[in-house]
């Protein structure tokens, strides 16, 4: 029985040496099971110690399941993969998955007004396919292609747009509700910072071509 105790402690030692959180927890669970066997096989089983180890084991098993889920590969549909490559490469695929799950895909016909100047805009859009033109005083100001954002300035400033945007040919848009996106990013600080990088890159590109 003593050898079980030694094996358990060698596993604990191993868990202290590894840097990977998953391995640390797996080794701890196995060591805990051996320790519980040691406590149980005594002439007078140590039920209090077994109880505590069951609790520790349960917590570790739940955390192991969460870690394994997080490490599973992310599956993206073809059109999602194209959009990821176009505009969201600075996000991890898992971050992009969370973001895209919040959005809706919308098709608009040629000439459709996507944004109206002076009217409060409650959404942020990205062009997945097709093109759009930003019109100022009736004239094209900036031409937007796939991967470009629409409505990001209203999203950032909270002010009504100062220009109209029209579809130039048929377009496919990915649309987020500003309110939902703001709440979602507010609860995910890392993703908020990553999204700011995406919007910043988009803005800088548009400012250089405007």
């Amino acid at each position: 029985m003593a050898y079980l105790l030694h094996i358990a402690n060698v596993l604990y030692l191993g868990s202290y040496l590894v840097k990977d959180m998953l391995w640390l927890r797996v080794l701890t669970v196995v060591a805990g099971v051996l320790l519980m066997a040691t406590f149980y096989l005594r002439a007078d089983p140590m039920w209090d110690a077994i109880g505590w180890n069951v609790l520790f084991g349960c917590i570790n098993v739940v955390q192991i399941v969460l870690l394994v889920r997080e490490r599973r590969p992310v599956r993206l549909a073809d059109r999602e993969q194209r959009l990821y490559q176009l505009a969201f490469r600075s996000l991890s695929p898992r971050e992009f998955r969370k973001l895209i799950d919040l959005a809706t895909w919308r098709e608009e016909a040629d000439g459709a007004r996507l944004v109206e100047r002076g009217e409060e805009l409650d959404r942020v859009m990205v062009i997945a396919e097709g093109h759009a033109d930003v019109h100022v005083e009736g004239r094209p100001h900036v031409h937007l292609g796939p991967g470009r954002f629409i409505g990001e300035m209203s999203f950032l400033s909270g002010q009504a747009p100062t220009a109209d945007v029209h579809a130039e040919g048929d377009v496919v848009l990915v649309v987020w509700s500003s309110r939902e996106l703001r709440a979602f990013l507010g609860a995910s600080p890392d993703l908020r910072a990553a999204m700011q990088l995406v919007i910043g890159n988009d803005l800088v590109t548009k400012l250089r071509t405007a």
Binding site: V136, S157, L207
Partner: protein, 192 residues
């Protein structure tokens, strides 16, 4: 106290600050005509300020792309500033570290002075937590009662974002700063 939308007072623009090499000039001259983000640190040994500068340093490329120049203003000696630059590996990354031992710039910005903000229970607990995260408190290098702040200005020297820290580690969120910087960079673009 500075307010968003208002121009900063002349006293702040005219405050003389020194860089780590001992070059002294008006804060307005350091800023030039760029959009600026200025992080006022408590003193150069402060752990809470170190983590704030570290977070800002990680976003310098984004700020630079938006035309925002970033400055750190402390209150120690130029030698303290030089040691801070060395310890934080800030040399050559596009961030200018300045200091104002007279505290004129901090006063003009309306930043808080509080001994409790440095030696109270919350700051001490926060210092311990930051030490565990790899940001130890170093020996005081400036006025420990002086609290920090974060100031984002446009080219007209109007305030676009301002946060005055109440105590050690009460830092502005860099994501909030970035959001204000993005809005500022795109405001005259006529983009929707």
């Amino acid at each position: 106290m500075l307010r968003v939308g208002e121009r900063v007072p002349d006293a702040l623009l005219d405050a003389h600050v020194v860089d780590a090499r001992g070059t002294s000039q008006r804060l307005a001259d350091w800023w030039g005509d760029a959009r600026t983000l200025t992080l006022f640190v408590r003193h150069f040994g402060c752990a809470g300020c170190a983590v704030h500068v570290h977070e800002a340093a990680g976003r310098l490329p984004e700020l630079s792309d938006l035309g925002v120049a970033t400055f750190v203003v402390g209150c120690g000696t130029p030698a303290h500033a030089a040691r801070f630059v060395d310890r934080m590996a800030l040399e050559g990354i596009g961030l200018t570290v300045l200091t104002d031992p007279s505290l004129a710039a901090q006063r003009a910005a309306g930043l808080t002075r509080s001994g409790w903000g440095a030696w109270g229970v919350v700051p001490i607990v926060r210092s311990a937590r930051l030490w565990l995260e790899g940001f130890p408190t170093h020996l005081p290098a400036g006025d420990t009662s002086q609290q920090g702040g974060t100031l984002l200005l446009d080219r007209r020297r109007s305030v676009r974002f301002f946060h005055a820290s109440a105590r050690l580690g009460d830092n502005a969120s860099m994501s909030d700063v970035m959001e204000a910087a993005l809005a500022m960079a795109g405001e005259h673009s006529l983009l929707p």
